[in-house]
């Protein structure tokens, strides 16, 4: 089948990227700084793609994604540091608990619309942060020490799995149901879609992968603190999705990679970075509210060219 050929093509491309990265690292061509940047890129990519499912595909405006990142980070850190279990178990545990948190947050709030949902998710993320802040077991405000366990291999493959799962979900009857909710919730309901179920499902899957990102993030730094998971972090993730184009998976991927570079180069000028970010956010909304890619995928750009040619022939 043609579609599966395309899939294998992408997979091979991904493995080549992984191989090149791994080779550069093991041959010491790139130093720790760039290694760290590659891993951060993967983390941001996971965050962007998981939020893309909630905002871009399902149209539910959640701005509390950092809350699930925090849950994943702390739960995974407890699993490795306090319980002494392997990293892979920690990633799964972080993801599953984040997903449960997603269900807990999603079920009451997803009945709300637009602005109200946004504020409610922001509120929940803050509650999660304040709860962590008040638990002495994980160090409260001072934070929790975490061993460095994240490698390029872990970061890359978790990111790859995130993209494959969310892409597969989107390209199915379930994904179409979610998009129909984004397009018109009342019509979707009237066509027999259980809208609550799909909103919660998208939210839970999004939270799951934010949890994975949290685990990878926690084990890439030496200490995690509640302050790292405030709403500024949520806005950072939001910017990836908005800039990439609400509804475009490849847009989210591209902007996550691009903005990781930008942030890294502006790391010594954090104010300038945030001024540029916020200006970009405003200008994009004023002049190109659909973001870089709109709802299109990068593959559509090639397709539409071909199709354009064909219709001329007819």
């Amino acid at each position: 089948m043609k579609k599966s050929k395309i899939f294998w093509g992408y997979l091979v491309l991904a493995l080549v990227i992984y191989g090149v990265g791994q080779a550069l690292i093991s041959m010491n061509v790139i130093d720790l700084y760039y290694q760290n940047m590659l891993i951060t890129m993967c983390i941001n990519l996971m965050l962007a793609v998981s939020l893309h499912l909630v905002i871009g595909i399902t149209g539910q405006f959640s701005i509390g994604h950092a809350g699930f990142l925090a849950v994943g980070a702390y739960v995974s850190a407890i699993v490795t540091m306090k319980l002494g279990m392997p990293f892979i178990v920690a990633i799964l545990a972080g993801a599953i608990v984040a997903m449960l948190a997603g269900l807990l947050v999603g079920i009451p709030t997803l009945r709300l619309k637009g602005d109200y949902l946004a504020i409610a998710t922001l509120g929940f993320a803050e509650i999660i942060r304040i709860v962590i802040l008040n638990i002495d077991y994980v160090g409260g405000a001072a934070g929790m020490q975490v061993s460095h366990m994240t490698t390029w291999t872990y970061a890359f493959f978790t990111a790859l799995i995130t993209v494959i799962v969310i892409s597969n979900f989107t390209k199915s009857r379930h994904g179409r149901a979610c998009i129909s909710i984004r397009e018109d919730e009342i019509a979707s309901d009237a066509m027999g879609i259980n809208t609550t179920y799909y909103k919660v499902a998208a939210f839970a899957i999004g939270a799951f992968f934010a949890g994975v990102a949290g685990a990878i993030f926690a084990h890439n730094t030496y200490i995690i603190q509640p302050a790292s998971f405030g709403f500024l972090k949520s806005f950072d993730i939001l910017i990836f999705v908005v800039l990439g184009g609400l509804g475009s998976l490849s847009g989210s991927v591209i902007s996550a990679i691009l903005l990781t570079f930008v942030s890294a180069y502006l790391a010594n000028f954090p104010e300038t970075r945030m001024i540029i970010y916020s200006l970009v956010l405003i200008l994009v909304m004023l002049y190109r509210p659909t973001g870089l890619m709109g709802t299109k995928e990068i593959t559509d750009l090639f397709k539409s060219k071909k199709k354009g040619g064909m219709t001329h022939d007819e």
Binding site: S172, R176, A177, E183, I186, A187, D189, A190, M191, G192
Partner: protein
């Protein structure tokens, strides 16, 4: 309630903030009937549709469909039990392709789970293929198959109205509710629409209830007509009876558009 009754509405009413928008509506639809629901603007026609489809919860009365009570059901449950609808102000999924619009309504046709789709299990592929086939068949009936990859928002207006009906049919209804299907259409398009409605009714063995302002259409194809005014039923009968009913004439007086 005879064995042939599909929909029975008893004393249905709804109150919005103290205002009785619709009250005391009684309606019976037999299997296979084509019935019109007319009335001046603001009479409560669309509100009645919204109650029948679960969008609004009636504050009084009972709705029985196919032997089951519909009160308190969510819209998607109502749809799955066999009532689907179109909207007065077209509500297509604008950024989805024409084919995908129909596929959304076909959702319950396939049974593959979320996990099956994520892991691309065989049930995913067979389910999706079945949906594709079925949805294309619907598009063909409506002459929309050549537009299948267009985004719904790029279709011409008349085609959008057709797609709404195609999508409603894809949800496999026993009862189809059409909310002003001819709104904004020219006489030729309306004529085509009348033929299409007659055709799908026969082809799918449908029962149809339609709201329409175009009296040619209503009088032309409906077997029975209900008339709403100020939220209450004021008349019921054949097109001929309705045309000569003094109450109906009075309700429409002052409104210039009678036909």
């Amino acid at each position: 309630m005879t064995s042939n009754t599909l929909l029975q509405v008893e004393n249905m009413g709804i109150t919005f903030g103290g205002l009785k928008a619709v009250q005391g509506v009684n309606m019976v639809l037999q299997q296979g009937e084509l019935v019109g629901l007319i009335g001046p603007n603001g009479a409560g026609k669309t509100t009645s549709f919204n109650m029948l489809t679960g969008v609004y919860k009636p504050t009084e009365g009972n709705i029985t469909f196919d032997g089951n009570l519909l009160n308190g059901k969510q819209p998607y449950q109502v749809t799955r039990s066999g009532i689907s609808r179109t909207f007065q102000n077209i509500r297509l999924f604008k950024d989805l392709s024409v084919l995908d619009n129909v596929k959304v309504a076909n959702h319950s046709l396939a049974k593959h789970t979320i996990l099956s789709s994520i892991f691309r299990l065989p049930t995913h592929f067979s389910g999706e293929a079945k949906m594709e086939q079925e949805s294309l068949a619907f598009l063909k009936i409506f002459g929309l198959d050549k537009y299948k990859d267009e985004l719904a928002k790029n279709l011409p207006y008349g085609m959008q109205r057709r797609l709404e009906i195609a999508r409603a049919l894809a949800a496999k209804p026993k009862l189809l509710l059409l909310d002003e299907p001819a709104a904004g259409m020219n006489p030729q398009e309306t004529q085509d629409l009348m033929e299409l409605i007659a055709f799908i009714r026969k082809e799918f063995g449908l029962t149809i209830l339609l709201i329409e302002h175009d009296m040619n259409l209503v009088m032309g194809i409906c077997e029975r007509i209900y008339v709403l005014d100020h939220g209450q039923l004021i008349a019921e009968g054949t097109p001929l009876e309705i045309r000569n009913n003094p109450k109906v004439i009075e309700a429409y007086l002052g409104e210039e558009v009678v036909d």
